[in-house]
Symmetry: C2
Subunit: 434 residues, 2 copies
C-alpha cells in the first residue's frame, strides 16, 4: 500500500485528455506528488470518435484507463470526479467528492461543443465530443433505420433517413465520409426492404470551403471526395434553428430531418473561480503566458484547448487540437521544476507537424508544413499516424485488426444498439402491420 509522501509539492491536474495525460506521464520521477482528476476513469482518443459513432470501432478500442497511465508511478493519485470550482485564494479545488489543496494547479479540461447560445439547437441536435455521445449517435442512426422500415408515412421515412451534419471541419467531414460508407457497405445490405438511395447526407458549412483550417488544395480535394461518395455539401449556408424535425437556414433551404449532428464549433470547457480578466469571452478559454501560466496567478497553469496563448502567429491562441496540447504539456513538465526553483524557463513554440483528414476508403488529405497531398497515400499516412498515436499496444492491435477487417470485408460489425438513445422531440408512431 502506498503512503502519500506529503513532503513533496502537490500538483493537481484537472483533465485526462491529451494534455493531462502527457504532463502526468512526463512528471514521473520529478519529485512531485501528482493528483490527476477526470470525470471519467478513461482517456478518450477523440480523433476516432466518429468511427465509434458509425460502428467501425468499439468504444473500448479508443479509450484507455487513466489509472493505467499512472500505474507504478510513485506518489501519483487518480480521482474520478467533477471539479465544481477553484478556490484560488486558499489554493484548493472544490469537487463533487470534496475539496483538495494544491501547490500547483494544471487546468487541462479541454473543450466542449459550442452551440453559440442557441438553446433549441442544443436540445435537439447531437454532439460528438465524448464516447457516450458517440454511442448515442451510433444507436440513433440505427434506431432511425429500424423506424424507417416501419413507417408508412413517406415524409417521415425520408426524415429518418436524412442526416444533417453542421460544420465541415475535420470532425464533420470525417463523419460525413463514414456515414456515406455506412450507407453503401452496410445499410444497403442490412435494410433490403428500404430504398437506401433515399438516404441523404447533408454537410453544411457556414463559410466558403470545407476543412477551412487546412490548405485550399485539401479543401478542394476533400469536397470532391465527399461529393463522389454522395455527400451533399452546402457552403456559405448558416443553420439558424432546429426544432427536432426541421432545420432552418439563413436562406430558403430547409431540411426535414430526424438527425442533426452539430460539429460547427467548440469552446473551452470552462471552470469556475478564475478572475474575469484571465478569461477570453465567447470561446471560454483561459489566457496564459508563454509557459502556460494563467494570467494573474503564479501557481495555476492551463494547457491545450482551454488555454489561449496569444502569439504573433496565433493571435487568437493555438488551434484546439491534440498537437498543441501535447506539446504544451511536454514543455510544462520540463519548465515546472525550473519555474518553482526560480530558474529560467523555456517559452512555448508550436511546431506545426501538419494536419490531415480522412474522407473514406483510400481517401484522405494531408497538409504538411511545405507539402500537400491527397488520395490513397494520404489515406495510408492518416491510418499510420492515428494508429501509432493511440495509447496502448492492445488498442493499436485491436484497431488495426478492425480496420483490416472492415477494409477487406466492406463491413462494420459494431452496428449495435447497446444503449438506446431516446430523442424526445421527434414524432413517434405505431403502424398496423409490421
Amino acid at each position: 500500500m502506498n503512503i502519500p509522501d506529503s513532503s513533496q509539492k502537490r500538483i493537481v491536474i484537472i483533465g485526462g485528455g491529451f494534455a493531462g495525460v502527457t504532463i502526468a506521464q512526463k512528471l514521473n520521477h520529478k519529485g512531485f506528488q501528482v493528483v490527476l482528476i477526470d470525470k471519467q476513469n478513461y482517456h478518450t482518443f477523440q480523433p476516432l470518435l466518429y468511427q465509434v459513432a458509425t460502428g467501425g470501432l468499439e468504444a473500448g478500442s479508443i479509450a484507455y484507463p487513466l489509472r493505467k497511465v499512472i500505474q507504478g508511478f510513485s506518489n501519483f493519485y487518480f480521482r474520478m470526479t467533477s471539479v465544481k470550482e477553484i478556490d484560488t485564494q486558499n489554493h484548493k479545488i472544490i469537487s463533487e467528492i470534496g475539496e483538495l489543496r494544491y501547490d500547483y494547479l494544471v487546468i487541462a479540461t479541454g473543450s466542449k461543443t459550442n452551440f453559440f447560445g442557441n438553446k433549441e439547437i442544443e436540445r435537439n441536435a447531437m454532439s460528438m465530443k465524448t464516447i457516450p455521445q458517440s454511442l448515442n449517435i451510433r444507436s440513433f442512426i440505427l434506431e432511425n433505420f429500424e423506424q424507417a422500415v416501419l413507417t408508412k408515412d413517406v415524409n417521415e421515412r425520408n426524415a429518418l433517413m436524412n442526416f444533417v451534419l453542421v460544420g465541415a471541419g475535420p470532425t464533420g467531414v470525417e463523419l460525413a465520409g463514414a456515414l456515406a460508407e455506412m450507407k453503401k457497405e452496410i445499410l444497403q445490405k442490412d435494410y433490403p426492404d428500404l430504398d437506401i438511395q433515399k438516404m441523404q447526407i447533408n454537410l453544411i458549412q457556414s463559410n466558403d470551403r470545407v476543412l477551412n483550417t487546412m490548405s485550399e488544395k485539401s479543401s478542394i480535394a476533400s469536397e470532391k471526395f465527399l461529393e463522389n461518395l454522395g455527400v451533399k455539401v452546402y457552403k456559405n449556408l448558416r443553420v439558424t434553428n432546429y426544432d427536432g424535425r426541421t432545420v432552418t437556414t439563413n436562406t430558403d433551404i430547409v431540411f426535414d430531418t430526424a438527425t442533426v449532428i452539430w460539429t460547427a464549433g467548440v469552446q473551452g470547457a470552462a471552470i469556475h473561480g478564475l478572475k474575469a480578466d484571465a478569461l477570453v469571452d465567447r470561446v471560454e478559454r483561459i489566457k496564459v503566458n508563454e509557459i502556460n501560466l494563467v494570467k494573474g496567478y503564479d501557481n495555476i497553469f492551463a494547457l491545450g484547448d482551454i488555454a489561449c496563448m496569444e502569439t504573433t502567429q496565433y493571435p487568437q491562441g493555438h488551434p484546439m487540437m491534440a498537437q498543441p496540447a501535447m506539446q504544451q504539456a511536454a514543455l510544462l513538465a520540463e519548465n515546472l521544476p525550473k519555474y518553482i526553483a526560480g530558474k529560467p524557463t523555456k517559452p512555448f513554440v508550436y511546431h506545426d507537424k501538419g494536419s490531415m483528414a480522412t474522407i473514406g476508403r483510400n481517401l484522405a488529405v494531408v497538409d504538411l508544413p511545405k507539402y500537400h497531398f491527397s488520395g490513397f497515400f494520404a489515406w495510408f499516412v492518416w491510418m499510420f499516424v492515428h494508429l501509432f498515436s493511440l495509447i496502448g499496444f492492445k488498442n493499436k492491435a485491436v484497431v488495426f485488426m478492425n480496420w483490416v477487417y472492415n477494409y477487406v470485408r466492406y463491413d462494420r460489425e459494431g452496428r449495435l444498439i447497446v444503449r438506446p438513445y431516446k430523442k424526445k422531440s421527434f414524432v413517434t408512431f405505431t403502424s398496423d402491420e409490421v
Copy 2:
C-alpha cells in the same frame, strides 16, 4: 429493394439467441417468408458475458448484428421490438410496434434471472443475462473501488470491496474466478492507496457442491481452484434477503456488502397469450412435444431455454444451455417443411457434448460424456471451444487477440466506466479532503 413474397408461408421467430439465430440460418432457401424479432438488434454470446463484466472483453466482441445473420437471405425480415402478447386465435403477435400475422410461430425468448419471488433481492442485487447488465456490473465494480479510495469509514470501505455472488453454477463460478484475477492483476496495481487484500469474493451455493450440474470430480476440482484464487466458497448456505447493504442467510452468517450478483436461478422469459396448460409453473417454461410443437397448438413451436420437453432422461426438460437450444433449432428447421407437408418428422434426441467451466488463468474443468479432466489442458479446450462458437470471424479474431494480450500482460484494459451505474439503496457520502 426487396418486395415481400406473400405467396410463401410466414414463419415468425421471436428471439435472436442461440435457438433463434440457428433456426433462422437453417431456414434459408426452404421456401418460407421469415420474420426474426428481437428486443435488441444484436445476438449476445452469453457464455462470455462474465468477461465483459470484468473488463476482459469489450461488449462488441461478443455481440453480433442480427441483420447481418440474415443478410442476403431472400424473403427474410428483421424487426426490433418487444412482443407483448400472442393472439393464438387470430394467428398474430402483438408487439410494441404493431401486430404481425404468422402462419407458424417459433418462440425462442430464452430465459431470465429467477429471484424466486424475492422483490427486495431483485431490487438490490445485480443480474448478468444481457450486455447492458454486464456493463452495469463492470461499472459498479470500478465505481465501488473509486469510492473505497475516498471513504474514511472502514466498514463502508470493506463493504465496497466485498463481492457476494449467489449461485455457484457456471456463471457464478466463472465470474468469481474472473473477479479473483481482476483483484490480483488489476486492482492491486490500479489502487495502490487501498489495501486490496481486504477485497473479498464470496461465492454462495445453496446445496453441497459448486457446479452441481457437472461431475463430482469437476465440482471438487473447481472448488479447489477457486479457493486457491482466494474465493471464499460457502456451501449449503441459502440467501434469505439483501437490503442493499446486508445479505442475510438461513444461518447466522451475514455479509456487509455493496454488491450482490445473483446467478442463483433462471426461468423462462415468458410470453403472454398461451393457454395455461401449455405452461410449466414456477420455471415459466412452455411444454413442447418431441418436435418442439407447443402443447395444444398446431402452428406454434418453442425452442431452447423457454421450451420444456419432458423426456425419460430429462423429466424436467433439457438443461437451459446453448447446446440443447441449437440442436432443437437445427432439427426444427429440418422438420418444419415435413410437418407442414404432413410427412413424418424426426423426434428430438439431445446429444450431450459435455460441459465445461473456466475458473481462471490455466484453470478449467471439462466433462465429456465419458471423460473428465481439469487444469491447463481443460482451460485450453475451454478457450478453443468458446472462440470457435462465437459468430463471425472478426469477433473470433478480436477475442483471441484480447485473450492473448490479457494472458501475456496480466491485464484487462476494458476497465472503463462508460455507462455509470447508479445503485440507489447504498449509502452515499462526501469526504472532506480527497
